[in-house]
C-alpha cells in the first residue's frame, strides 16, 4: 500500500469520525431540548388516561387544555364513549392494570358494582381529596347519599339538573293558555292544545327514558317526600313501592295521559330526537325534558322557549325539584399516587368557579350554588330561575327516584314505564314488578 493510499484511508476514517461525533452531539442536543421542560422542573411527564361520556367531554376538553397549560408535566389521554357502550365494559376497564386512570360512571346503574370495586381496591377512596379541596360544600346532602360505607369514591361533577316542562310561548299565546299552576290546569292546557290541532306533549317513548323522567317527576307529587325517599334510598329494607299508593297512581297518570291523547300521536314509536323535532317545528306545544337540554331547546326556539315544573297533584304534597346528579360521576382507579393527585387537582379545576363558568358558557347548569344572580344573568334566564328555585328553599329537593336502586330496577323501570303507557301492564303490576327487581340482587 502506497503512502498516498494510506493517507487517503486515514483521511476517510477521520471524516467518518467527525461525522459520527457531530451527529452524536446534534442528537444529544435535540434530545436534551425535548426533555428540557420536564427535566428543568425536575418532574416526569404524568399521563392521565381518561374515558368520558360524549356529553361531558364537551366541557371537560376546554378545561383539560387550561389544566395542561398550567401543569405542563401532565398530559391527558382522552377517549370518548357513549354511555351504554362504556357501561358494558366498565368492569373490564376498571380491573385492567392498563385501564383508564379515571372514567365516567352512572351512579344509578352502579350501586351494586361500586361497593365490590371499592372493596377489591379497584377504585380509589376520595375522602382525603374531598377534605383537602373542600368539595363537601357542593350539594352536601346529595353527596352524602352517594357514599359507600361512609366514604366517597366518586367525583361529583353533576349539575343541578331538574326535569322541567318546556313550552312554546308563541303557541300558548295563540291558544290563550297560561302556565299551569295546578294539575287540573295542566290537563286543561293539554286538552286545549289537542283541540286546537297541536300535539300537546312531544314524547319520544321509543327511547323509554323520557317517560321515566316524567314518571319520577309525577311520583314526587303523588308520594309524600318522606316516603318517596324511603323507597328511593332503601335506607332500611323492605320499603316497597306497593306500600305507598302514590307510586301506582303516578304510573296511572302516565296511562291516563295516553288515553286522553295528551302524548303526541305515535309517541310510542318515536325516538326522543324525533319528538323534539315536533316541538322545535311548532307542532307540539310542550315537551317534558330537563335543564340538561336547555341549550338545545333555546337554540331551536329562542325567546319563544318557556318552562315550568310539574304543578302539584295532591293538595298536601308540594311541587318539588328532583335533582339528577346521577350520571356525572367520574371514578378514579389509578394506582399511581402522582396520577391520583393530578386527577384530583383537575377535578378541583372542574369544580372551581372558572370550571363552572366554562360549563355554563356551554349552556349547562352549574353544580355550585354560590353564583350570584348578577353572575347568572349572563347566561340563559332558565338557569337563573332554576337556581333561584333551588336556593329559595320553597321547593323540597330530592334525587331522582332510581338513583340508589340496583341496576336491574334502575334499568327496567324504563321498559315497565313503556308497558304501562301501552296498557300492557296495570300500574299495580308494574309496581309489583319493580319491587321484586329492587329488592332482589342488592349487593352480591
Amino acid at each position: 500500500m502506497s503512502s498516498k493510499q494510506t493517507k487517503a484511508k486515514r483521511s476517510n476514517v477521520l471524516r467518518k469520525l467527525v461525522v459520527f461525533v457531530v451527529s452524536g452531539v446534534l442528537m444529544t442536543t435535540l434530545w436534551a431540548l425535548y426533555l428540557a421542560p420536564t427535566v428543568a422542573s425536575g418532574e416526569e411527564t404524568i399521563t392521565v388516561k381518561t374515558i368520558w361520556f360524549a356529553g361531558q367531554h364537551e366541557w371537560f376538553q376546554p378545561l383539560i387544555e387550561i389544566f395542561e397549560k398550567t401543569h405542563p408535566n401532565v398530559k391527558f389521554e382522552v377517549t370518548v364513549m357513549g354511555v351504554v357502550q362504556l357501561e358494558d365494559i366498565t368492569i373490564q376497564l376498571m380491573t385492567d392494570p392498563e385501564g383508564p386512570d379515571t372514567l365516567m360512571a352512572n351512579y344509578g346503574t352502579w350501586t351494586t358494582v361500586l361497593p365490590v370495586l371499592a372493596e377489591a381496591g379497584f377504585i380509589v377512596n376520595l375522602d382525603p381529596y374531598y377534605e383537602k379541596y373542600g368539595w363537601w360544600e357542593f350539594l352536601p346532602e346529595h353527596l352524602r347519599t352517594h357514599q359507600i360505607r361512609g366514604s366517597m369514591y366518586l367525583f361529583s361533577v353533576g349539575s343541578v339538573f331538574v326535569p322541567v316542562v318546556y313550552y312554546n310561548k308563541a303557541i300558548f299565546r295563540e291558544i290563550g293558555a297560561d302556565v299551569p299552576t295546578t294539575w287540573e290546569e295542566f290537563y286543561a292546557v293539554c286538552g286545549k292544545l289537542r283541540s286546537e290541532g297541536y300535539e300537546p306533549i312531544a314524547l319520544g317513548n321509543r327511547d323509554a327514558y323520557p317517560a321515566y323522567h316524567i314518571y319520577q317527576g309525577i311520583a314526587a307529587r303523588t308520594v309524600p317526600m318522606e316516603d318517596y325517599e324511603k323507597v328511593q334510598r332503601f335506607t332500611s329494607a323492605p320499603y316497597k313501592m306497593a306500600d305507598y299508593p302514590g307510586f301506582a297512581k303516578a304510573f296511572g297518570i302516565l296511562r291516563e295521559m295516553e288515553e286522553k291523547k295528551y302524548w303526541a300521536t305515535g309517541s310510542a314509536e318515536m325516538a326522543e330526537v324525533d319528538a323534539q323535532q315536533l316541538f322545535f317545528g311548532g307542532k307540539a306545544g310542550m315537551v317534558c325534558s330537563g335543564t340538561w337540554s336547555m341549550n338545545t331547546f333555546r337554540e331551536a326556539l329562542g325567546d319563544d322557549l318557556g318552562f315550568f315544573i310539574f304543578p302539584p297533584i295532591e293538595k298536601d304534597i308540594p311541587a318539588s325539584l328532583t335533582v339528577s346528579l346521577s350520571d356525572e360521576f367520574p371514578l378514579m382507579s389509578s394506582a399511581k399516587p402522582e396520577v391520583r393527585d393530578a386527577v384530583a387537582e383537575f377535578f378541583d379545576l372542574v369544580l372551581s368557579k372558572q370550571g363552572q363558568v366554562v360549563r355554563m358558557e356551554l349552556g349547562n347548569m352549574p353544580i355550585r350554588t354560590d353564583f350570584t344572580s348578577a353572575e347568572l344573568e349572563k347566561y340563559d334566564p332558565i338557569m337563573l330561575e332554576v337556581m333561584r328555585m333551588f336556593s329559595s328553599g320553597e321547593y323540597p329537593v330530592t334525587d331522582e327516584l332510581w338513583t340508589f336502586w340496583n341496576i336491574e330496577a334502575a334499568t327496567e323501570i324504563q321498559a315497565l314505564g313503556q308497558e304501562v303507557i301501552a296498557g300492557i301492564k296495570t300500574p299495580e303490576q308494574v309496581v309489583e314488578a319493580l319491587d321484586k327487581l329492587a329488592t332482589r340482587a342488592r349487593g352480591f
Binding site: D88, T109, V113, M270, E419, A422, I424, A441
Partner: protein, 293 residues
C-alpha cells in the same frame, strides 16, 4: 408399496397441518368458549371478584323466570314468522327468476342486494320509512284515509313489523340457493310434463318442489338457526320494546350478562338457548328426513 404409504402419510400430515389453524381458532373461540359458558352457568359471578358455585340455582331461577318465558315466546314468534316469510318469499322470487320474468337478470341482483346492507342502515332506513309523523309510509296511508298502525309502537304489531323487515332484507339469501337448485332440474322433465298438459301450479307442486327438496330443507334449517339467533335488528330498531314486546332470548341474555353483570345467569340462558336450538335442528332433521333427502 413403501413409497405409496409414505406419500399417503405425507398427504395426511399436510392435510392435518392445513386444517390446524382452523382447529386452533375454532377450539379456542368456539369449543373453549362454549365450555367456559357452560361452566359459568353453574356459578354466580358479576364480572369481578370470586365466582361462587351455585349448582343448578341459575337453572331453577331461569325456569321460574316469567321474563324468560316471554322472551322464549317472542323468539319463537319472530323466528317462526321469519322462516315462513323468508322461505315463502325466497321460493316465489326464485321461481320468478327461474321462469325468466322480464328483467330477471337485474332482479336477481336487486333481490340479493338487501342481504349485504348493514343492519344499522336497515334500522335507520325502516325507522324513517315508518316514522309516525313524517314517514313516507305513514303519509301515504293517511293520503288514502287509512290509519297507520303503530308499526314500532303497538305491542301487537311491532313483532310483525320486525318479521316483515327481516323478510324484506334476507329473502335474497334463500332465493339464490333455491334458484340455483331449480336451474339444476333437467329441462326434459318440464318438457315431458308439458306434453302431458300439466298446469303451472301442478308443475311447481309435482316437479319443482320435490326436485329441490334437499336444498329447500337445508336452507329452511339454516333459516331456523339464523332466525332463532336474531339480535341485531331487534336491538337496532326496538331494543326489545315497547316494554318487553320484542325482547327475544338473545337480547335478554345480553341484558342479563352485560347490563346487569349477572354473567352466571346470562351463561345459563346461553346454554339453554344453544341446547334448545340444537334440539329444534335435530327434530327438524328427523321430521323432514333431511338426511335421506
Amino acid at each position: 408399496m413403501t413409497i405409496i404409504r409414505s406419500l399417503n402419510v405425507r398427504k395426511q400430515v399436510t392435510a392435518y397441518l392445513m386444517i390446524l389453524p382452523a382447529v386452533i381458532f375454532l377450539g379456542f373461540f368456539m369449543f373453549y368458549a362454549a365450555f367456559e359458558a357452560t361452566r359459568l352457568s353453574f356459578y354466580s359471578w358479576y364480572g369481578i371478584g370470586e365466582k361462587t358455585f351455585v349448582g343448578l340455582a341459575n337453572f331453577r331461577e331461569l325456569f321460574n323466570d316469567p321474563r324468560f318465558y316471554n322472551s322464549l315466546y317472542k323468539t319463537g314468534l319472530l323466528a317462526g314468522g321469519r322462516v315462513v316469510g323468508l322461505i315463502g318469499m325466497g321460493f316465489l322470487l326464485a321461481l320468478a327468476l327461474h321462469k325468466r320474468v322480464t328483467g330477471w337478470k337485474v332482479f336477481r341482483v336487486i333481490f340479493y342486494l338487501n342481504c349485504v346492507i348493514s343492519l344499522t342502515v336497515v334500522g335507520l332506513l325502516w325507522g324513517s320509512l315508518l316514522n309516525p309523523v313524517v314517514g313516507p309510509i305513514t303519509i301515504l296511508l293517511k293520503m288514502v284515509h287509512l290509519v297507520p298502525p303503530g308499526w314500532l309502537g303497538d305491542p301487537n304489531v311491532v313483532i310483525w313489523t320486525l318479521i316483515g323487515i327481516g323478510v324484506w332484507q334476507f329473502s335474497g339469501f334463500p332465493m339464490i340457493f333455491l334458484y340455483a337448485s331449480m336451474e339444476g332440474i333437467p329441462t326434459q322433465v318440464y318438457e315431458a310434463a308439458a306434453l302431458d298438459g300439466i298446469t303451472p301450479l301442478k308443475e311447481v307442486w309435482y316437479i319443482t318442489l320435490p326436485l329441490i327438496k334437499p336444498v329447500l330443507l337445508t336452507i329452511t334449517l339454516l333459516q331456523i338457526i339464523f332466525s332463532l339467533a336474531v339480535f341485531d335488528i331487534v336491538f337496532v330498531m326496538t331494543k326489545g320494546g315497547p316494554g318487553y314486546s320484542t325482547e327475544v332470548l338473545t337480547l335478554y341474555m345480553y341484558r342479563v350478562a352485560f347490563r346487569f353483570h349477572r354473567f352466571g345467569y346470562g351463561s345459563c340462558i346461553a346454554v339453554v338457548f344453544v341446547l334448545g336450538t340444537l334440539a329444534i335442528a335435530y327434530l327438524f332433521i328427523r321430521a323432514t328426513r333431511l338426511k335421506e333427502a
